[in-house]
Amino acid sequence: MRRINYPLIAAAALLAAAPAAAQEQPPAPSALRPYQVPRVEDFRLANGLRVVVVPQPALPIVHGRILVNAGSIYEPLEKNGLASLTGQLLDEGIQGMTGAEIAARIEQLGAQMGTGAGYAGGTAQVTSLKSVFPEALELAARTVTQPTFPEGEFTRVRNEALAGAVQRRSRVEGLAAEAFSQALFAPTAPYSRQAAGTPESLQAITREDVVAWHRRMYAPGNATLLLVGDVTAQEARQWAQRVLGGWSAPAPQLPAVSNPVQAHSGTRIILVDRPGSVQSGVAAGQAAIAQNDPDYYALDALTQVLGGGFQARINTNLRERHGYTYGAFAGFNPLLGVGTLSINSAVRTNATDSALVEIVSEYRRLAAEPVPEAELRGGLANIVGSFPSSVQTVQGLAGRMERVLMYGLPLDYWASYRERQSAVTPADLTAVAGRRLTPNALTIVVAGDLSKIEAPIRARNLGTVEVWDASGKKIR
């Protein structure tokens, strides 16, 4: 890895941020010791399974992740929740072991294991001390290759998923997030739905659906084993061959996925009632881009300025200046082929309309006014400077690597990532803001006590106002 001149970047930011009235100046940084991202090894077993290894032997811990392209974006529209339910059921029974026996054995090893599925993939994850890792990995592998989906466990886990969906809608944050996806994407788009499914959709899924989904999607040619931590490439090859080398299944033809965005002119406000709420959950933003889009770095920097930290514009405004909230942040969530950009907060009920005015105004300012150089430098220094601590854990490093695999990015992506991110200029921000931000066509979802917030929000004239129920049906 080439050395990056962090101290200069940081020094510029400190200088610009130094308070005028201060008597003492903050100490300057010393020379930075470079951080080297571990080298990544990559190979395939004869059955087509890809194995990616990231050796990081600081502690005797290993993390393994079996990733299968079997997420909810590939599931049939009328079976929302099928991929997720299948993922949750993987460790509820394998040939020769009940779910209870798997759980007991994993805990006996002192390992942590979990299975599930999100938008992109079905996953079995396992972390343990190195000495027991081969056995823990073997159990994780068997949940992927030979699950039995017992009838009784199917019914129980589906009921738990239903309860989870009900719980999600009992919180304003959950209500706002669910409606935001539904409002942003067209009803045919997988990203308009929750990967976990809804109370309505989960009812329609049968055990036969789960068995068929697993048979169709889970195959070595459609999967990757990611190993991170105290492991060498040679050990990885042995372990992978032993626990997954005998896995045989035809790889599926992955369906083409399309996520059209709902077209709307002007800002659209959607209200969801939660009577008695003392705070309103707010999600406000727009559709954005994927991580492999050339505009990714500039849009990520722009999001950092808007709401990537405590000092960012939206938290400074809503929390520190106005006291409307405990915290407000912006998130840029790159997905496959598309992404989302949103400001999220929980704001005091009687300040909800005022908070929306501030959110829209910060969004417009970001689009209309060039970001000052010092503010950009500070934001970049934060993204880049915090990278080493974010990958101190095997779990954190694996999370980064999963993004690389999901997007088909080069395996040395993170080794040179900080250089590319640091190269963003104010001119790049202006260009990307012009290309990507839609400050006059935002989607804003507010979940709260409509008897108190609806009239004041309408009076602000920020856009068209609709009222939805918790499942996303328009009421008025």
Binding site: Y6, E24, P27, Y326, G385, S386
Partner: protein, 455 residues
């Protein structure tokens, strides 16, 4: 130095976190720990003050004060604490934060190791000069933020009141653990600028704190920096003694409350027992008992209530680790949608009543294995929540012994099934039990404000 020498076997080996300790002439305790596996350094200060030190009528004050520590000091303008650290490469929340509990308040920074001095300077400036720039406006602003924090974590959440209700029942009126850390809206409203000044002078002195400097550091250099920035801060008066916090071992009678909760979608129960505190010789047995009862999917509570009876969709069991008087062991179960709160309560209690008999060596072996793994898992991070720096600061604040972190594995190994059964038989009894039953209630009529209580 720790990293490469750590043994990987499953049982028994010594895991060592090496450290160097010193006490400055002003009484500040400092602990240094070197780990150069990544160019990351951590600064972590624990002040020996928490909500148990609060005065009557000022619940929530220790935490409100913690917020004031981020509002600037003599050389740091309002807003600059986070701004300087974020621009230096630390993330708000996970790397830069302050937290308040019953027993202590902490402040930490985790950042690229070449920025170590910045973190030390910021901590020293607020330890030395916080009240010089204090204003009514800053206090009013953070009072609103903290009220929002209370709304977000308590008043607007399903089951959000469980903690303050549990504390209210488990500790007698007037006991320092009787109220929650977040406090009541009424008491937050009553706090004054003078309260902030007095609290600062009473508790925020170098002789009432421990400073941990960890990670990619050179100890001699770090010592020089610490002397440069903290050496001139004046020693404060000794903090006033705590009220007597001793309590009878058990509650001496069952307590039960049914809560109609407009935010709750399904019934839930919270069952609490008084247990030995974190300084008691049985503390590790308490941790392991909580884990054995209801952590993980092979625990008896999960197996019986979630897997077999399917009356609950989730269970958990944990203890807080409070250090004075008595700690609490808490069991939570969420019912499935439409389930009766009454049958959920009966089912959970039936299981807890037979735990002393039903818990096995296999259960204990599993939670010991998990405990050993968790310790190494935690050691992956230098600072932030629960990393190496936090462990060392906790070791000093609660046990006056940094080496406490190095005795954890042996403590786990020593606990026997007989210890767990004896503890369960003595403490998991009806006369030592607080039961909260949450029943989903229809939302209040428009216009009716749900209560934001604090008693």
């Amino acid at each position: 130095m720790l990293p490469c020498a750590l043994p990987a076997q499953r049982t028994g080996e010594a895991i060592r976190i090496d450290y160097v300790e010193e006490t400055l002439p002003n009484g500040l305790k400092v602990i240094y720990h070197v780990d150069r596996s990544t160019p990351v350094a951590a600064v972590d200060i624990w002040y020996n003050v928490g909500s148990k030190h609060e005065q009557q009528g000022r619940t929530g004050f220790a935490h409100l004060f913690e917020h004031m520590m981020f509002k600037g000091s003599k050389n740091v303008a309002d807003g600059q604490h986070f701004a300087l650290l974020e621009d230096a490469g630390a993330r708000a929340g996970s790397d830069i934060n302050g937290t308040t509990s019953w027993d202590r308040t902490n402040y930490f920074e985790q950042l690229p190791s070449n920025q170590l001095e910045l973190a030390l300077w910021l901590e020293s400036d607020r330890m030395g000069t916080l009240v010089e720039t204090l204003t009514q406006e800053k206090l009013d602003n953070q009072r609103e933020v903290v009220k929002n924090e209370r709304r977000q974590s308590v008043d607007n959440q399903p089951y959000g009141t469980w903690l303050e209700k549990t504390l209210g029942h488990a500790y007698p009126e007037g006991h320092p653990y009787h109220h929650s850390v977040i406090g009541s809206m009424e008491d937050l409203s009553a706090a004054t600028v003078d309260d902030v000044k007095n609290f600062f002078r009473t508790y925020y002195a170098p002789n009432n704190a421990v400073l941990v400097v960890a990670g990619d550091i050179d100890v001699n250099q770090a010592k020089q920096l610490v002397r440069k920035h903290f050496g001139d801060i004046a020693r404060g008066p000794a903090a006033p003694p705590l009220r007597d916090m001793t309590l009878p071992a058990t509650l001496g009678g069952a307590r039960r409350e049914v809560v109609q909760d407009a935010n709750a979608p399904v019934p839930a129960v919270f069952i609490t027992y008084r247990v030995p505190n974190a300084r008691d010789r049985r503390a590790t047995a308490v941790d392991l008992l909580a884990a054995a009862i209801g952590q993980g999917r092979s625990s008896p509570l999960y197996e019986r209530l979630v897997r077999e009876q399917q009356i609950a969709t989730g269970v958990s069991a944990f203890n807080f680790g409070l250090v004075d008087g008595a700690d609490l062991l808490i069991v939570n179960a969420q019912g499935k949608p439409g389930a009766s709160a009454d049958s959920l309560e009966k089912a959970v209690i039936a299981e807890l009543d037979r735990v002393a008999a039903s818990i096995t060596q296999a259960h204990l072996d599993r939670v010991k294995a998990s405990g050993r793994f968790q310790l190494v898992n935690t050691l992956q991070v230098t600072g932030g929540f629960g990393g190496r720096a936090d462990l060392l600061a906790q070791a000093w604040t609660y046990y006056r012994d940094p080496n406490w972190v190095n005795t954890q594995l042996a403590d786990i190994d020593r606990v026997t099934l007989a210890d767990l059964r004896a503890l369960a038989a003595e403490r998991l009894v009806p006369t030592n039990r607080v039961t909260l039953v949450y029943v989903p209630a229809r939302a209040p009529q428009a216009g009716a404000q749900p209560s934001a209580p604090g008693q």
